[in-house]
């Protein structure tokens, strides 16, 4: 158990990821308001991207922009660029899904006049 706690303390990024992920998930499950559910979804998405970016970091490494073309490149001196590329795509797709879901929320509000889950279910019956 003690070594597990030590492993957590060496990874503050991982602890922040777990807290943000669970917090976003909790919001999505418990809140009735659709906009708040979407805020929770946004927090979950960004926390997963945060986890991927934290994997790409290397101690003592700089940003993955090559300094000079003449010397041979040492891969240890630059951060891993592949998670960055993956997450760039993921961020844009995340905002696209957010836009579609917000448009859906606006359409629901126009039809039912409420953003509250239970009220809409009542009106559906």
């Amino acid at each position: 158990m003690l070594e597990l706690i030590e492993a957590w303390l060496h990874r503050p990024n991982f602890i922040a990821f777990v807290i943000l992920f669970l917090w976003g998930f909790y919001i999505m499950v418990t809140h009735h308001n659709f906009v708040k559910k979407l805020i929770g979804m946004y927090i979950v998405q960004t926390s997963v991207i945060f986890f991927l970016v934290a994997i790409s970091a290397k101690t003592g490494a700089t940003v993955p922009i090559l300094l000079s073309g003449t010397v041979p490149v040492h891969a240890e001196t630059y951060a891993n660029p592949l998670p960055h590329v993956l997450t760039l795509t993921a961020i844009v797709v995340q905002v696209a899904t957010l836009g579609v879901s917000l448009a859906l929320v606006a359409a629901i509000y126009r039809k039912y006049g409420s953003l509250d889950e239970d009220e809409i279910l009542k009106r559906l019956e």
Partner: protein, 176 residues
């Protein structure tokens, strides 16, 4: 320690994520969410992911906030419900369990900032060492995104196009 800059930012991140929900009024909640995105961009800049930080600052803190505000100006701006949902008990039992399972696996993850971690040894050095010769672009992220993986980026624009069409269809029908 390498975390000296990062830990205050992480605490601010968690505080803003909490504040975005605990506020009753939805417009301030969205602005707090925008500041959450901004702190996230700062953390990523600390971790060396400058391209991701730029995109998060522009798309996450800028565009997502604008989307939320546009929706709120068309709809209700207050969270009318004050008492909690009936799923709350299940969530309070299940989610800490899930969290403990995730944290239990923490010891098996590679050390933070380890240059020999599995993600950084197999194929990523090949891109770092050859991209300047192959693509004549000093920024490796750009050369992977726009050159080696250009087809992926093309399909990504198809996804954004589809999302744009879906938004236009959903919002346009109501004006009749």
């Amino acid at each position: 320690m390498t975390f000296s800059f990062e830990v205050p930012l992480l605490i601010l991140l968690i505080l803003t994520a909490a504040g975005a929900i605990l506020v009753k009024d939805l417009v301030p909640a969205v602005f707090i969410l925008g500041s959450y995105s901004f702190f996230l961009a700062l953390v990523w800049a600390c971790l060396g992911a400058v391209d991701v930080a730029f995109v998060e600052a522009v798309v996450g803190a800028g565009l997502a906030t604008v989307f939320f505000l546009l929706t709120l100006f068309r709809t209700a701006q207050k969270d009318t419900r004050l008492y909690p949902s009936s799923y709350r008990g299940a969530a309070l039992i299940g989610l800490p369990l899930l969290g403990f399972l995730i944290l239990y696996a923490a010891n098996d993850l590679p050390k933070f900032g380890d240059p020999a971690s599995p993600a950084s040894v197999h194929v990523s050095p090949v891109y770092l060492e050859n991209s300047l010769h192959d693509t004549r672009t000093p920024n490796v992220v750009t050369s992977v995104l726009m050159d080696y993986r250009a087809l992926d980026t093309l399909i990504e624009t198809v996804v954004i196009f589809t999302a744009g069409i879906a938004c236009a269809l959903l919002l346009g029908r109501s004006r009749e």
